[in-house]
């Protein structure tokens, strides 16, 4: 059933209205997710990743508000649904694993009770015994050893990695069409992160889940994602498949991200090329492209007008004035091709 969109997000903007002013957390974000795909959303802290996810889930609360846009899931516009209908949908058809695993497990209940509650919430005719059996199976699926015994534990008796597995098991127990995982491994050590990513790859193959994975780590993206969105300052900078984003990035911000991190452990690394400056204040976002104050290629129009979305191929878009037909051709960006990924931007 691959290939048709399960989710389409069209031009959503979400803001938080504080007493100091409007924080424009997400500004006109559009993307789609095909069935069976793993979509990665990568971006730095504050770029709007979690707010995008919470908007899809219908979990933006006051003082926040989705100002505009459409969210089409399975052919239905979620923005038109009532609170109650959204509540039904969440956990049934869309599940989310939240950024902080400790906030989503209740410390005073055994794992068993929490999982059974979720399972029976969505399937009220199920006997308790059958629900427990299903919970045990879910724990087995996420490779918790001795699940019959471990299900009696309290959350604090589990390590961070095991708690994250329980979260995944719980999220999957309603057999959702879409799983949104917000930084599911950020709080974990690398060897435990490897276990979880391995598990996600395994699940993807076995239950054909459609997944949105949110992370700030391009390495994590490279492990599991087939499509990637790069976010910055509440907007999408570039979107494409794995080859587009890792081997043919066409947005100066994506290139900057690649150059900021040591990429290949086997070679003795050259000096890193940092992105100068700091991310924008979303209370007063730059008028034009959000990256323009930090970009090495900034032109006057970049500061003044939002950049156009340039379609580079069937899979690849970049939101950047440099790719506009009237823009001067820059070495390394000639007709969109970046000749040397590690070259220092010239105009700096």
């Amino acid at each position: 059933m691959s290939g048709e969109p399960l989710l389409e997000v069209k031009n959503i903007s979400t803001s938080f209205f504080s007493h100091l002013g409007e924080i424009q957390a997400v500004r006109g974000v559009s993307f789609y997710l095909n069935r069976g795909d793993v979509l990665g959303i990568v971006g730095e802290s504050g770029s709007g990743k979690s707010v995008t996810a919470l908007s899809i889930m219908g979990l933006i609360e006051k003082p926040g508000k989705i100002k505009q846009g459409e969210i089409i899931f399975n052919g239905e516009d979620l923005m038109k649904k009532s609170q109650r209908e959204m509540c039904e949908l969440r956990g049934n058809e869309i599940s989310m694993i939240f950024q902080d695993p400790m906030t989503s497990l209740n410390p005073v209940y055994r794992i068993e009770n929490q999982m059974v509650e979720v399972i029976r919430y969505h399937n009220r005719n199920l006997s308790r015994k059958k629900a427990v059996a299903q919970a045990v199976e879910m724990l087995r699926l996420v490779k918790i050893p001795e699940p019959e015994k471990q299900i009696k534990s309290y959350p604090h008796e589990f390590s961070g990695g095991m708690r994250q597995r329980v979260m995944i098991a719980t999220a999957l127990s309603s057999n959702p069409g879409l799983l949104i995982a917000d930084e599911p491994t950020t709080a974990l050590d690398v060897t435990i992160q490897a276990q979880i990513l391995d598990l996600m790859n395994d699940l993807r193959a076995r239950i054909n889940a459609s997944i949105i994975l949110i992370t700030h780590d391009l390495g994590v993206i490279a492990e599991v994602c087939s499509r990637i969105i790069v976010m910055y300052g509440g907007t999408i900078m570039e979107a494409g498949n794995e080859r587009d984003i890792f081997y043919n990035p066409q947005n100066p911000y994506t290139v900057g991200l690649h150059q900021s991190i040591p990429s290949n452990l086997a070679i003795s690394e050259k000096r890193l090329v940092p992105i100068r400056g700091t991310p924008p204040n979303l209370m007063y976002p730059p008028k034009g492209c959000p990256f323009s104050p930090r970009c090495s290629y900034t032109m006057r129009i970049c500061l003044e007008e939002a950049a156009p979305t340039i379609r580079l191929s069937d899979t690849h878009i970049s939101v950047c004035w440099l790719l506009h037909e009237n823009a001067p051709k820059i070495n390394g960006y000639s007709k969109g091709k970046i000749v040397d990924r590690y070259k220092t931007p010239s105009g700096s």
Partner: protein, 295 residues
Amino acid sequence: MKAVDDVSFHIDRGETFGLVGESGCGKSTMGRTIIRLYNVTGGEIFLDGTNLTAMSEKNLLPFRKRMQMIFQDPYASLNPRMTVTDIVGEGILVHNIFKDRERQERIFELLDYVGLKREHANRYPHEFSGGQRQRIGIARALAVEPELIICDEPISALDVSIQAQIVNMLEDFQDEMKLTYLFIAHDLSMVKHISDRIGVMYLGMFAEVAESYELYAHPQHPYTRALLSAIPIPDPDLTRKNKRTILRGDVPSPIDPPDGCRFATRCPLVSDLCTKATPELIDKGAGHFVACHNV
């Protein structure tokens, strides 16, 4: 509880020694013990040939000036009620290096150095971003012209695009001021990038110590191998080639560590001997030390 147990190593002048290992393995404890923020319960610490282990606080003062620390959390490590001038200038006051006007001048100089503005001098930490706070922490550490700086995860709390700014700055300062670094991190790719030699810790002990390139090219300890293979590489083609060793289970509690080799409970090569005797850190040649019975 012994957070760090029976560990010996040295750092050469002018080099960067990287310390890696998973959360709770004792990296910060090691750093803090070296600059004697914590007391040593066994063993000795030498700085430039002088034994610091049992030195009184008074005698320690001149040595404190030679060792500084940059802390893990840029949000918690700066006193919120002190201005940038007070924070950066504190060490200068304590060690009585510059007076009044000269002191302020020196502080301005340090702010220039770390890329902050002079008008930031009278502001408070909460007015700065994480990256700027870490710059304040670096200025504070540099203020007394130390020789050794313990960098305890100086970039972990920062955005990717800001991390490279700080790493490059640390590298430049090392060249210019002949600094020696102990660089603590759990991000192995950054440690590889910045370090000359690396020590891999597991549950308070060293598993392996080697030159940076050697460690990545020829890891010997099964834990090092697993740790290296677990690093997510931002290059999908390489990722696919990378044969990953997925470790079973979790890190055991340091309060009651396993007998024998501490890694035995998760080790793919475990044998009978491992649960009985603690392996020693043995030189396998060319300064490559490994603590494992089976390599």
